[in-house]
């Protein structure tokens, strides 16, 4: 997937990078589909000279599914890049951007394929570094550098915990191969397993962006070029979901106490609700989308957590359902988030700003981008009959099945989680009504928006692919469910495709038709038919339609963009109702005319949302860290003799220990 790009022409470089990536992504899609349908996992390895390190890859259904997801997003992003990267020509090295993007794709693919702990850590680091360099593509901007540094620091904290988890696994397994992790030489004691669980949750949680480890995400994802943001939000954070499922259900054999699942469920619920709430307050379109990634990772973890709880109590079918719903939402989120980030990229390309308040009226100027963005918005808001709705519906059913659990606390908590999921869903709806409505509807709010033009064909195709998949994955769950079932079957030991699908696949009926059922295709048919009925009734009662066009009434004045509702105004009631969470600070300064205090000369309005986690969790930690670093500076005198002395002392101490 990587290719050092020799041609000198930026245009050729751009094309070459995208063609390589598209071909590789095509191969990845084929590989993913093959891996999902193959009867046996396929393994392949090259030994290395380094001890313990084996370049081993293995494709089982779980890996294959993630390869498929990565490749689908990669394909869309690569085609999109043909048009989009032109935007960067002149300032940035197109060759570097292209090969880093392709290297990033390759490393993500290897992460989900790796079959050796050390190799995994290596490609994991490669993935983090490649994405870091991509984040700082526009390194001449201060905030981009800050975002990059923040990302690098956070991701390494995460890697430290991941390395810890793998080292503990290595301790008991005696080897870094995943096979040895699965069947360790000696039984792992309960406390050590708990330690692995926690280290993995924190380590991978940092990458996934679960609250409160999400703080880097809204900085890093928007700073990267948009097709890279799509890759990062669409799939990179999902590699953490892959790793969590791999460790909990595969290495640890799906044996865990109930509180593990409960903790994952809680982390999921917290991420979902806070993610969407912070997203609502964002008016930078790409930051808004980044917060929605936090939300959706939360929804996925909610489902997996519920699955883990069921697994503990031996309700294997429900556990499989929870996992399946989570994985379904994983690929669905990959599709609509890619679509939305590419859409945001198109807006940035056309209107040269990420600030929503400067868009407006773009649906008329950019009809295709608008349509695609609308499809993405409807999907992420989980509205029928799109894919987001189908997977969230499955998650609701999983949570409702809590009625079968023996523990009263869990019986109550899972429906409450369902209520939180419902709240998350509606807030996402509000957020995307805002994002689409303010950006694409009404009058243009700035000169940029007035002069925006539709994006080139390559970008349209890049957005079209995920848009089609959003609709396809929603209408045809009968194609997706059997494939997903192949992943969850080895992990939980039961196959549920036959139980989830009913009526020859035309309806979903988790567990049985009696309890609940959903037929997305039927709902779509109903919507179309009733819509046509509406048209027919209008024609029947009203006859042929003659329309008259006139300007909107602006209370007696000519309507101007300044009279329109702003994004800030739109979310004001939500901010006020949930002010405990947002803790907004408002500053209003008014300068009056000298003659009279009844006339204001100018008003200044400032509004800030308290960044709770950064202020109360990270800032103190950073302060302590800097203080320690300050003390340690004494050691770094800069004298060569002193350093030689350090080496000598270290050696002596080590030798002492060795004896």
């Amino acid at each position: 997937m990587v290719l050092p790009l020799y041609p000198r022409q930026p245009d050729t470089q751009r094309l070459a990078a995208s063609i390589c990536a598209s071909v590789a992504a095509g191969a990845g899609i084929a590989l993913g589909l093959l891996g999902l349908t193959a009867p046996e996992p396929v393994a392949f390895s090259i030994s290395s000279t380094a001890p313990l390190l084996v370049f081993a890859i293995r494709i089982d259904p779980l890996s294959a599914f993630f390869v498929l997801t990565i490749s689908l997003v990669g394909l869309a992003a690569a085609i999109y890049a043909v048009g989009y990267v032109r935007h960067f020509q002149g300032g940035t090295s197109i060759a570097a951007l292209g090969s880093l993007a392709n290297g990033f794709l390759l490393s993500m693919t290897l992460v989900v394929l790796a079959d050796n702990g050390l190799f995994f850590l290596m490609v994991w680091e490669l993935m983090s570094l490649a994405s870091y360099f991509l984040v700082v593509t526009e390194h001449e901007k201060t905030d981009v550098r800050y975002a990059g540094f923040f990302y690098l620091a956070m991701t390494h904290i995460g890697t430290a915990f991941i390395a810890l988890a793998y080292l503990i696994l290595f301790q008991s397994a005696g080897s870094f191969s995943f096979e040895a992790f699965r069947h360790p030489e000696r039984a792992v004691p309960e406390e050590i397993r708990t330690l692995i669980f926690l280290a993995a949750l924190i380590g991978f949680g940092t990458k996934a962006g679960i609250v409160p480890l999400h703080v880097w995400l809204p900085y890093a994802h928007p700073a990267a070029p948009s097709h890279i943001s799509a890759l990062m939000s669409g799939v990179m954070i999902k590699t953490a979901i892959y790793a969590l499922i791999r460790i909990y259900f595969d290495f640890l054999g799906g044996q865990f106490p109930w509180w593990w699942g409960f903790l994952v469920l809680l982390a999921g619920a917290l991420s979902a609700i806070l993610g969407v709430m912070y997203a609502l307050m964002e008016h930078d379109l790409k930051r808004l989308l980044a917060f929605h990634s936090v939300e959706n990772i939360g929804i996925i973890l909610l489902s997996i957590g519920a699955g883990m709880i069921f697994q503990t109590y031996g309700l294997k079918e429900f556990a499989a359902l929870g996992l399946l719903a989570g994985l379904y939402h994983t690929i669905n989120h990959a599709m609509f988030k890619t679509l939305l980030f590419l859409g945001a990229g198109s807006l940035l390309y056309a209107a040269h700003t990420r600030n929503m308040e400067e868009y407006g009226g773009l649906l008329r100027r950019m009809p295709w981008t608008g349509l695609f963005f609308l499809i993405g918005a409807v999907s992420i808001s989980a509205l029928p009959p799109t894919n987001g709705f189908v997977s969230e519906w499955l998650i609701f059913q999983t949570l409702f099945l809590s009625v079968q659990l023996p523990d009263l606390l869990l019986k109550l908590m899972l429906p409450i989680a369902a209520a939180i999921l419902a709240l998350t869903g509606v807030l996402a709806l509000a957020c995307f009504a805002k994002a689409f409505g303010i950006s694409f509807l009404a009058l243009p709010r700035s000169a940029h928006a007035r002069h925006a033009e539709e994006v080139p064909a390559a970008m349209k195709i890049g957005m079209g692919i995920p848009a089609l998949l959003c609709i396809g994955l929603g209408l045809a769950p009968m194609a997706a469910i059997p494939l997903l079932d192949r992943i969850t079957e080895p992990l939980t030991g039961v196959s549920i495709a036959g139980k989830v699908l009913a009526l020859d696949g035309w309806a979903l009926a988790p567990v049985n038709m009696e309890f609940s059922s959903l037929s997305p295709s039927m709902l779509a048919a109903m919507l179309i038919l009733t819509g046509l009925l509406g048209l027919a009734l209008a024609f029947l009662f009203g006859g042929r339609l003659a329309k008259r066009y006139y300007k909107t009434w602006g209370c007696g004045m000519n309507l101007s963009p300044r009279m329109e509702y702003t994004a800030t105004g739109f979310v004001q009631p939500i901010k006020r109702v949930f002010s405990t969470i947002y803790q907004p600070t408002v500053k209003l300064e008014t300068e009056f005319l000298q003659e009279s205090r009844y006339f204001a000369k100018q008003r200044k309005f400032e509004l800030h949302i308290e960044p709770v986690f950064e202020k109360h969790l990270y800032d103190p930690a950073v302060r302590v860290f800097l203080k320690i670093a300050d003390r340690l500076r004494l050691l770094q005198a800069g004298s060569l003799h002193l350093y030689l002395a350090y080496i000598f002392v270290t050696l002596a101490v080590l030798l002492l220990f060795a004896v």
Partner: protein, 319 residues
Amino acid sequence: MPPIVQSLLLVTAQVIVLLAVSPFLVGLIRKVKARFQCRQGAGVFQPYADLAKLFHKQPVLSTTTSWIFTATPYILFASTLSAGLLVPTLSSQAPLNFAGNIIALVYLLALGTFFLILAGLDAGSAFGGMGGSREAIVASLTEPTMILSVFTIALTAGSTNLSTIVHKTALLEGIVTDPSPHLMALAALFIVTLAETGRVPVDNPATHLELTMIHEAMVLEYSGRYLALVEWAAGLKLAVFLSLIANVFAPWGIATTLTPAALAIGLVAYAVKIAGLAVSIGVLECMFAKLRLFRVTDLLGVAFILALLGLLFFYILRS
């Protein structure tokens, strides 16, 4: 009769009943309110005449709008009517029961809300945005309550499909001895109904005052057949919620078999029940003043707590 023909006939009957009954409900509430205010009021069939008039009128469209504005009335009409098809009305064996359960109903209605908010923003006047913004907060506070309260009922019936719930309740299967969870859920759902259908004390459908209006602000720019469809959809939404309450909590009289006699009884029972509910809404609207927007959250908070208590009661009474 082959089952497919029977199903088609039932669906058609349901569509006709819902479309026919919804303007009547609106008219009935207005009449009740008028009588309580010592006015004669317009006849209960006035909304039908209004709809017919609106369909004939030439619509005026704003020059700032896009296709979203003209598509929204149809999407709203379609999503509300589709949601209505998932709720049992005359018969507890709704043929489209398999198409979706209560979650599908909630999200179908949300689809309409989403597009209505967009349409409100599309015209570019501040009123539309104001209405959309308020609708968003009201919807976000009602939906969790709705999910929880319906789940409480679903627990008793062992199903989340509305027809199955109604069918089992009507046949007195799976009824718990203590009705308190049901009462809690009913109270919660009734408050949700008031909020979702834009009635006093959450919204006042009778005024066009920018300080208070929610639904009316969003649809302010609509005229002609578009307004007719939007109004009809609003009536439909009311009918959907009232049918839901009537048949889920009091399924008595509903046809559990598909004989003509049972269906006829079902029709009469249905008409009586939802007319009764409409009258009670009319009475309530006269007894209470509209709440200030930011006090509405307290009311909806109470509804959520009621739904939660219902769930808690269910488990405590069971164990």
